[in-house]
Symmetry: C2
Subunit: 196 residues, 2 copies
């Protein structure tokens, strides 16, 4: 198998496992079992476990960029695009109820570990943040676009955390509906904070 393909295979398995079990709790033996490769082989492709984490973050950054580009292309109006973001909570609800949000939980774990990749993981949030802010700007809310983006990100994170803690799908649906209504209620003229 070509080196690049094997490497990709490892990174994708690690991506899944880091999400489901966490970074520290995932052992090379787990990745070996998932890929069918031997532990020793990993060191041909990566110098250390941290390097796999780095590759996983790079993979996620790239996938998020593609996701955002897709939402951008799929709809012409900003509200529709933002709705794609909100709909993600429904689309991924099964996994969210089991493992929370892959971005939020990774950032939380790395922050506690005081891990060197911590700031890089936060960039995963930044991608969503800036994309959402861009859409809110197009919506005529340039002045508070970033605050609105952070507000929506905040709600999605809160939903993911509680949905996982309580394994509650009805809660997700209810809050997604509330987010949609909040989005509808936004108008170019409306001032901050969002709820007024």
């Amino acid at each position: 198998m070509a080196a690049a393909a094997t490497r990709q295979h490892i990174v994708e398995a690690a991506d899944r496992l880091f999400y489901e079990r966490g970074f520290e709790a995932t052992a090379f033996a787990d990745i070996a079992a998932a890929t069918g490769l031997s532990r020793g082989n990993f060191y041909y492709h990566f110098k250390a476990k941290d390097e796999i984490l780095d590759a996983v973050i790079t993979l996620r950054l790239e996938r998020i960029r593609l996701l955002l580009a897709g939402w951008l292309a799929a709809a012409d109006i900003p509200v529709e695009r933002i709705r794609s973001f909100i709909a993600m909570l429904i689309g991924n609800r099964a996994e969210i109820m089991l493992y929370g949000c892959p971005v939020g939980t990774l950032c939380a774990e790395l922050a506690k570990l005081d891990h060197i990749a911590s700031s890089r993981a936060s960039e995963l949030f930044t991608l969503f943040r800036e994309w959402l802010a861009g859409q809110f700007s197009l919506l005529g809310r340039a002045a508070d676009a970033d605050a609105l983006a952070m507000h929506l990100l905040m709600r999605s994170q809160g939903v993911a955390t509680l949905a996982a803690a309580f394994r509650d799908e009805a809660f997700i649906r209810r809050e997604v509906e509330a987010m949609s209504l909040w989005l509808e209620s936004l108008s170019p003229a409306a001032p901050l904070p969002p709820e007024t």
Copy 2:
């Protein structure tokens, strides 16, 4: 030193470390360093690390009960009491920006570990949930009290997660202000969802 006092000492050190570093990442050596005790001594007080975790959850449950009882006693009207909950984000902002919410991050870690104490950790959320729901009921919102409680919990969790990821105090203050306004806007007659 009396057994009970030493035990308490260990549990309190573990409580701090589990918050700052996470459960798995905290080694007995860390607790030993924090308490000044030897590693071997822990096994006189606890059969295993999981038993320390259990004791930490018990401690947190008790502290939250006291906190909630305090908020109850400190104010006569429900809105004021709920404000105490919201104010917690400001009061604990320094630690939240470093380590997130102690309840949310513990639940997230244990869920990924598929740890036996996972459901017990969720009870930490349940305490807040039921207390908040009680206050919303007193506010005349008995019909959707639990949904309102979950909504507020959700926002606090989202704020904690993003505040930690971006180390952003201004964001906390802004969202706390928005939560306060949302709370003000609630009236006995207003229907669900919260924002309408």
